[in-house]
């Protein structure tokens, strides 16, 4: 792979990671808003459903996406490669 192809590949990776981070941010914000509703309203059947059973998984999904993005970022920078040790 020559230098220009490498640059294009890096740029694509970077764009994908940015997209992943933005998706993670949106998911986390959405999840946290649902959870906020539960924490403010208190224990009601509907608030538990929205806040705990919907909000928490969405928030955790966002956190998971962020972790994936971090790993992909580190991988694209070859930080995780064993050759670097």
């Amino acid at each position: 792979m020559n230098r220009s192809e490498q640059n294009i590949s890096d740029e694509n990776d970077s764009q994908e990671i940015d997209k992943l981070v933005r998706t993670a941010i949106l998911c986390t914000i959405t999840g946290m808003l649902f959870v906020l509703l539960f924490l403010i309203v208190g224990f009601k059947a509907w608030s538990v459903g929205i806040g705990v059973f919907l909000g928490m998984p969405v928030m955790i999904f966002g956190m998971g996406l962020y972790i994936v993005a971090v790993f992909r970022d580190l991988k694209s920078r070859k930080v995780l490669d064993s050759d670097n040790k």
Binding site: T28, M32, V35, L36, G51, M56, I67
Partner: protein, 317 residues
Amino acid sequence: MKKFNPTLLLSCLILLIVSGTALALTGIYHLEDTPGSTASFETVHKVDTESFERSEAKTTLDGGTYANIMQNAQTEKPIASTAEKGMTIGEIMRWAGIVAIVVAIVILLLIEFIYRDRINPMNYRILLIISLFVLPMIVGLGTSATVLETTKSVQSCGSCHVMDPFVDDLFDAESTTLAARHYKNKWIPKYQCYTCHTTYGAHGTFEGKRDGFRHWLLFVTGTWDEPISYSGSYPNMNCTSCHAGTNAFQQVKSHRALSSKLRADEVSCTSCHGPAHPTPKERVASTDQQEIEQRSTSAMRKIGPEELNSLVEALDE
């Protein structure tokens, strides 16, 4: 190199401190001054607060109250009681969760949609770690603590209408069920449902959490069957954890004779001492009675003042 606005981090920190302090102060005053939810709960479930002195209810139960009563202790003070003042851990965690959410959302919106092009990449990453990982962890912990703490209260059980017959019976001074007797005699001063049904709290079993989710699903979809029945098995351990150490329990011959069977849950405590709650027949009857009362009340409301006057005149005649 992109230029970083150094005031951003400072403004985030100031926002964190100000919002945290404001929310904490609001929470403290809110808790001190507005027992509204308790009042409305007591109205709905007809709690007679005059007949039940609940001033001593702010003690942490570990079986001490019951043990004292049964052993005819001289002192009325429960063993190892803990006076509660101020905010509980559950309340603190709830406010921590609220503050963490507000701060995380503000940081995320600022760094991703406003300062994205102006922020230093390293600071961007640090703030991402804080707002996408650290603060959501606090939110998760705060929410879990809130759920586990809130579900201990009788109010949370009574928030689903399907539990109305059980909660009404608990507060019924004339009821002879185990639950009502434990309540009116103050054998369990606090968290009356949770103390006997220990599976759904912080230290509860996985089955308890699974059943809790199933119950919620049945409730919100309106697909439960009336009268509801207890599908699990009730371990005697929930009773004996308070009763077994008392003289009154030890003096009963049948308790000693059946001790191995009681330990193995082959014989249930409620087979001799039950029922713990109203039986399905009684619950259906009480629900029917409530429906009749509601219908008659709504029918009364439909009668206009003129019609009512004519009825009164007719009755007088």
